[in-house]
Structures are given as structure tokens and as C-alpha cells.
């Protein structure tokens, strides 16, 4: 792959001065690929954590205990109403200061790396929105449909898993797609705590090679591609799960 495209981009640079160095210099290419890998991992784990928090939070919100409901409410207020970058800095610098480090022989390394802090921070940030999205889905399942299940001898748990959740998930999906796409883009903020994801890596590349416009363009296209793929996948899921005869 690299050998295939390298001559073209080197030629392009020599002829036009457009310096896409990550496509012809082996060292910069390595950085670029590592950046993609870290960036995709960051997106994957952040989205996953936000979904888990969303489901658990929405479920807790329906708890009998006012204390639990209050906790979820406070969580949503705190993390929906503060900027994600401030949250990230807070987690990394405020909480990170209190987490223990391990001696790596000569230097110490914190147990929780900047990558993990970024996942935790984005998961919690996106999760706050997901809780509300799932709650809206649960609330939208008609009481009468649940009553039908009850009258057919379904237990509460059977009703929840066989009727409430499948319907609530479908109802939530369009709003969920929006939030997940938004969260995937927010992961680029991780560069402020030096997670070597795409934004951070290309920032280093353009600092070293003074090719800001080219790398900016590349960064831009990278996010267009990733977010398009994510949105397409989620829309495909939406179409697959659409309730036949409803909302069309």
C-alpha cells in the first residue's frame, strides 16, 4: 500500500509543492497509521462506555428510590451543562493528580493513562445525553402494549426484555445516532491531554514539516470519512429495525 502511493505523492510534492508527507515518508506514515489506530480505538471505547452508561442510567432513573433517581439527575445536569473539554481537563488534571503511579524503573507512569482518561471522560459526557435519549424511548412505549403483555401472563422482566426494550431501542435510535456521531467528533478533543490520536499526530506532523494546509485538509477528510461510515452503519441499523407500517 505504502510503496504503491509513495512515488505519486513524492512526485506531487516535487512538482507542485503540495507536501502530503505522511504518504511518502515511511516515518511520518508510521505516525499517521498509529494516529488512525488510536483515534478509532478512542471512538469505539468512548461510544461503548456512553451506551452502557446510558442504558444503566435510564434504568436507574425508573428506580423506586428517590436517592438513585436524584443521583442520575445530578449526573445529567453536571455533564450536560459543562463543556466536554473542561470535563476532560478536569478528569485528567484534577482527578489524575490523585491516581497512583507505578515505578517503571527510573520513571513513573500513572496507572490511568491519558487514553483511558479520555475514554472515561467522553463516555461520561456522551452517557449523560444517552440516558435522556433512552429515557425518552422507554417513556414512549405505550402503557397499553405493556398491559397486553401483562394480561398474556408476561412477568415484569419478560415484558421488559421482550416488549419494552425492543420498542424503546427502536424509538431511541434516531436521536442516539445523532449523539453518537457528535461524540465521535468530540473525541478529537483528546489532543489537549496529549492522547496521540489523529488530531494530535497531524498537529505534530505539520509542526515538524510546516505543511499546515495539507495536513488540515487530511484531518478534515479523515473525520468526514469516519463519521460518514459511522452514520451510515447506524442508519442501516435503523432501517433494519424499522417497525413495519409505523412512522413511514
Amino acid at each position: 500500500m505504502f510503496e504503491l502511493i509513495a512515488p505519486f505523492f513524492r512526485h506531487l510534492y516535487e512538482r507542485t509543492g503540495l507536501n502530503f508527507i505522511v504518504f511518502y515518508d515511511p516515518h511520518e506514515f508510521g505516525r499517521f497509521v498509529a494516529g488512525i489506530s488510536i483515534s478509532l480505538q478512542l471512538i469505539f471505547w468512548s461510544l461503548l462506555l456512553s451506551l452502557v452508561i446510558g442504558v444503566v442510567g435510564a434504568w436507574t432513573q425508573r428506580s423506586q428510590s428517590a436517592i438513585w433517581r436524584g443521583c442520575v439527575h445530578a449526573y445529567i445536569q453536571a455533564f450536560r451543562n459543562t463543556p466536554p473539554m473542561i470535563q476532560l481537563l478536569f478528569f485528567y488534571f484534577a482527578l489524575g493528580a490523585f491516581t497512583p503511579s507505578v515505578d517503571m524503573g527510573g520513571y513513573t507512569q500513572p496507572i490511568i493513562s491519558s487514553f483511558v482518561w479520555a475514554v472515561i471522560s467522553f463516555g461520561i459526557f456522551g452517557g449523560a445525553f444517552n440516558v435522556e435519549i433512552f429515557r425518552a424511548g422507554l417513556d414512549a412505549v405505550p402503557e397499553s402494549t405493556l398491559e397486553a403483555a401483562e394480561s398474556l401472563c408476561f412477568s415484569r422482566w419478560q415484558t421488559y426484555t421482550n416488549v419494552t426494550l425492543p420498542l424503546a431501542f427502536r424509538i431511541s435510535l434516531p436521536a442516539l445516532t445523532n449523539n453518537l456521531v457528535s461524540l465521535a467528533k468530540t473525541t478529537s478533543l483528546a489532543y489537549v491531554i496529549a492522547v496521540p490520536e489523529m488530531t494530535y499526530v497531524l498537529n505534530q506532523v505539520w509542526s515538524d514539516n510546516i505543511n499546515v494546509p495539507e495536513m488540515m485538509l487530511l484531518l478534515f477528510l479523515y473525520y468526514v470519512l469516519v463519521v460518514t461510515l459511522l452514520a451510515t452503519a447506524l442508519h442501516a441499523l435503523e432501517r433494519r429495525l424499522v417497525l413495519p407500517g409505523y412512522g413511514q
Binding site: 405505550p142 397499553s144 402494549t145 397486553a148 401483562e150 394480561s151 401472563c153 408476561f154 417497525l243 413495519p244
Partner: protein, 260 residues
């Protein structure tokens, strides 16, 4: 009558013909300060079809929902096959096994096909073998005249078709009593007929049916006994012929003059 199922809730014993299969005695029900049932008593014998009619807000739907324990009552007693519905220790599963209910708004599961809707409860709740349930479900779907619609989702069925799937879904649990809560009230006039025909056939098969309905012609034709309720009490009841032609209470007569 349906054959004895392998039940998870003990042996299946047919209920004797002479004792009332459903019995209500001085049933009271309030929503907050509003008392909607003020001492209702009625008996239903096995195989009987009774219709409850009356003006809107007279507690008809509440009454029917109390019978399978969807709505708890405050006072009085409801028994189904000798089982006290209002007993807090009641095994709701064993009660609802015996009592099927069909709602005004069908309430099918929109993410399941017609066949899956019918099969869901027996497979999931009674844990009967899937192949056996599927056979029975297909037979029920053909019984409600929907052969060919097995794999169609509720959203693509007409109201009348959805309602007949709902009837088949209830019947799949092999209930002894069927409750119908204004099942044609949300339907187009032309689809009402097909649903009523299904119920009529069910009644002819000997199913015990309790119906809340506004279809007076149908009530007259199919019912063994008619109850007229108003403001939470039974004003008058009797056999259809006598009820419709010779009502005694002025409230009944006024109601009938408005709807007939």
C-alpha cells in the same frame, strides 16, 4: 372446549358446568375520589355469553379489567373458577392463563409478525415446544380467517385484521373465559363485521365470553344475558329479547331510545 394443556401451574381440571365460572360480588372500585364501580354483582356460567352495555363513563371497561386483575378493586370479591382475583397472594399467572382479554386498541406487539404475536406467550410463558405452538398458532390464524397474513407485521394489517390477530393471540393461551373490551369501537364500520363474526363463532364453540360493546344488534343476537350499567351500578339485566323490548327502568329505556 380446548383440550387439556400441559400447564406450568398445576393440573388442568375442567370447571363444572353448574357453578358460575366468573362471579362478582359487591365490587367497589374508585380512582382517587371518584367511585366508578359502586357494588357490582353478577355471575357468569360456563359457556355463557354476556354483554355489558351502558353510556360512556359508566365503568364498563373498568369492570372488565378487574376480572383479570389488571385493575385492583377496593371492596367486594371477584372469583374466576373459584379463585379470588383480589387475593394479594394470588398467582396472577394461573389466573391470567384462564382469562384472555382483547382490547379496544388491539395492542399487538408492533415488532413481531402476526404469527409471532400469537406464538409469543405460549412459547415464552408456558414454555411449550415451538413446533407444537406454531401448528396451533397457524390453526388459530386460519380460524380468525387470516390465512396468508402470518408473516405480516401489525402495521401492515387493517384494524379489523389486527383485532382478529389479537383474538388469536389471546386464544393461543387456551383461556376458559374471554373478555372483550369494546373491541370494535376503534374500527371502520366495514371491518366491524368480520371481528363480530369471529366472536360469534367463538361463542358458538362454547367459549365463555364477557363483552363490553356498543353494538346493540350484535349484543341482541349473540348474548345470553345483557347487563345495563350506569354510574357504577347495574341498573337492569335480563335475556336480550326481554331486555331490548321490555326494559323496565327509565334510565335503560332512555339509553336504548338513544342508541337503537
Amino acid at each position: 372446549m380446548p383440550s387439556a394443556p400441559k400447564s406450568r401451574t398445576g393440573d388442568y381440571r375442567p370447571w363444572p358446568d353448574d357453578k358460575p365460572i366468573v362471579s362478582l360480588n359487591d365490587v367497589h372500585k374508585s380512582y382517587g375520589m371518584v367511585e366508578v364501580l359502586k357494588g357490582i354483582s353478577l355471575d357468569v356460567k360456563k359457556g355463557e355469553v354476556i354483554c355489558i352495555i351502558g353510556p360512556s363513563g359508566s365503568g364498563k371497561s373498568t369492570l372488565i379489567r378487574c376480572i383479570n386483575g389488571l385493575t385492583p378493586i377496593q371492596k367486594g370479591s371477584i372469583t374466576v373458577e373459584g379463585q379470588e382475583v383480589n387475593d394479594p397472594k394470588l398467582d396472577k399467572l394461573s389466573l391470567r392463563r384462564k382469562v384472555g382479554i382483547v382490547f379496544q386498541q388491539f395492542n399487538l406487539f408492533p415488532h413481531k409478525t402476526a404469527l409471532q404475536n400469537v406464538m409469543m406467550a405460549p412459547v415464552l410463558i408456558l414454555r411449550e415446544p415451538k413446533a407444537e405452538v406454531e401448528q396451533r398458532a397457524r390453526a388459530l390464524i386460519s380460524k380468525v380467517r387470516l390465512t396468508g397474513k402470518e408473516d405480516v407485521y401489525p402495521g401492515h394489517l387493517s384494524g379489523g385484521q389486527q383485532q382478529r390477530v389479537a383474538i388469536a393471540r389471546s386464544l393461543a393461551m387456551r383461556p376458559d373465559v374471554m373478555l372483550f373490551d369494546e373491541v370494535t369501537a376503534a374500527l371502520d364500520p366495514e371491518t366491524v363485521k368480520e371481528v363480530l363474526l369471529t366472536i360469534k363463532e367463538l361463542a358458538a364453540d362454547g367459549m365463555t365470553c364477557i363483552l363490553v360493546t356498543h353494538e346493540m344488534g350484535f349484543a341482541r343476537e349473540v348474548a345470553d344475558h345483557i347487563y345495563f350499567t350506569d354510574l357504577g351500578v347495574i341498573v337492569e339485566h335480563g335475556a336480550p329479547a326481554q331486555f331490548f323490548t321490555n326494559a323496565k327502568d327509565p334510565r335503560t329505556r332512555q339509553f336504548l331510545s338513544q342508541v337503537l
